[in-house]
Amino acid sequence: MNKQKKERGKGEVWLNLGCGVLLADPPFINVDKYFSLEELKTGVESKDGAWVNARLPEGVKFQQASMTDLPFEDNSVDYVESNDAIEHLSWNEVDVALKEMYRVLKPGGKLALGTTNFDELAKLWTLNITGNPLKTQVDIDRYISLTKIIYGNQVHPGEFHRVPFNPYSIAYRLQNAGFALKDILITMLPTGSPITVVPRAVEFMEEELKKCFVATEGMWIEVNKQK
């Protein structure tokens, strides 16, 4: 499996944007604006607070940069992946970041995004929280879990959510960034990601939100830059 992974990206440039503390194996170049590689290394060793789930694979590639100002040349990247990151940008940064992704991709290169589907979050809220008198600890925990999914876990300045997406709104923004509608594919989980960070969010949801009628609060979006 590992060998297969390595061969798959051989000779190609892959980016993992807004990696947070979950860094992907090479050939991915992990990008995040909130840390330096030194801070990541120290944090992973400490294992406390924001770092409890941190992952720093052997031979990791990392570059500190903002998603709104990518330090890569036009048409230089084969594959861009970004998991649970675009909802952390502020409203005005989203279009800039998607344009940057479009710019750095080679013609025919692929962008893949994992993000939450606000349609489902709104339904989950209505189903679980509206009218719930919060009388038991289970109910209170459920409200707090859903709050974290909607507004971010807030353990770090980077861990706030600032924009709601659904399939139509992400497609609208991808078209603003230059991608063609016919090239956009949006699926609900499970994803085709080699990193598979997103399914963990679903497991967490299912555990925390018993009445949850979905495995669709996460979206996986794939789009190729036109050749």
Partner: protein, 218 residues
């Protein structure tokens, strides 16, 4: 004997300093506000320094006032801007500063209504007209804040039960908490502006319920 003037606090006042209130905000300076209210430039476009208003710079989670100091505390569209883990501290501070028997007045958005508004207006809407796009953007900004300055981000959702739960955690008794949907009894009426903004943009909405007015007596 001269009757003392009651102490009214307006917490998280932003750029609008209310008459007869001590207005409190941690993101702004009084000199900038006074200047801004004259020039009305950029961020200060709607700045107001009303007659008989005072200003104190201070953190809502560490209020620069003594225990049992205030006769009335009001905070309009403020508590949803506080980080999740700091909300309890802020409400405890309000409780501490209020005189026994004095009232707290809060306005905030009701996330129950926002979730319904999203489901009705945005879910399944293919965004094929500019009106639909504007509606999605307006609602996004009501949910997450309009993000024009670092203070203008929303970080927590409230509904009547949640605010009731949090106020009890801060020390208020459930029988002293009253939550109403608009219109409010606020002397300031600032939230009405937000309400008008939503009404204009969301035609089929279920509103009149997206804002809450919360009163709690110590």
């Amino acid at each position: 004997m001269k009757k003392e003037k009651p102490i009214w606090l307006n917490l998280g006042c932003g750029i609008s300093l209310a008459s007869d209130f001590i207005n409190v905000d941690n993101f702004l300076d009084y000199e900038d506000l006074k200047k801004g209210a004259e020039t009305k430039e950029g961020f200060y476009k709607n700045a107001k320094v009303m007659p008989r208003s005072k200003f104190v710079k201070g953190d809502i989670c560490e209020l620069p006032f003594e225990d049992n100091y205030a006769d009335y505390i009001e905070a309009n569209d403020v508590i949803e801007h506080i980080e999740m883990r700091k909300v309890d501290k802020a409400l405890s501070e309000m409780y501490r500063v209020l005189k026994p028997g004095a009232k707290l007045g809060l306005s905030t958005t009701n996330f129950d209504a926002l979730a319904k508004l999203w489901t009705i207006n945005v879910t399944g809407n293919p965004l094929s007209t500019q009106q639909d796009i504007d509606r999605m953007i307006t609602l996004s900004q009501v949910i997450y804040g309009h993000q024009s300055t670092p203070g203008e981000y929303h970080k927590v959702p409230f509904n009547p039960y949640i605010i009731g739960y949090r106020l009890q955690a801060a020390g208020f008794k459930v029988e002293n908490i009253k939550i109403t949907i608009y219109p409010t009894n606020s002397p300031e009426m600032m939230p009405q502006l937000a309400y008008k903004g939503i009404c204009t943009n969301l035609k089929d909405s279920v509103i009149l319920t997206e804002m809450m007015w919360v009163e709690a007596i110590k």
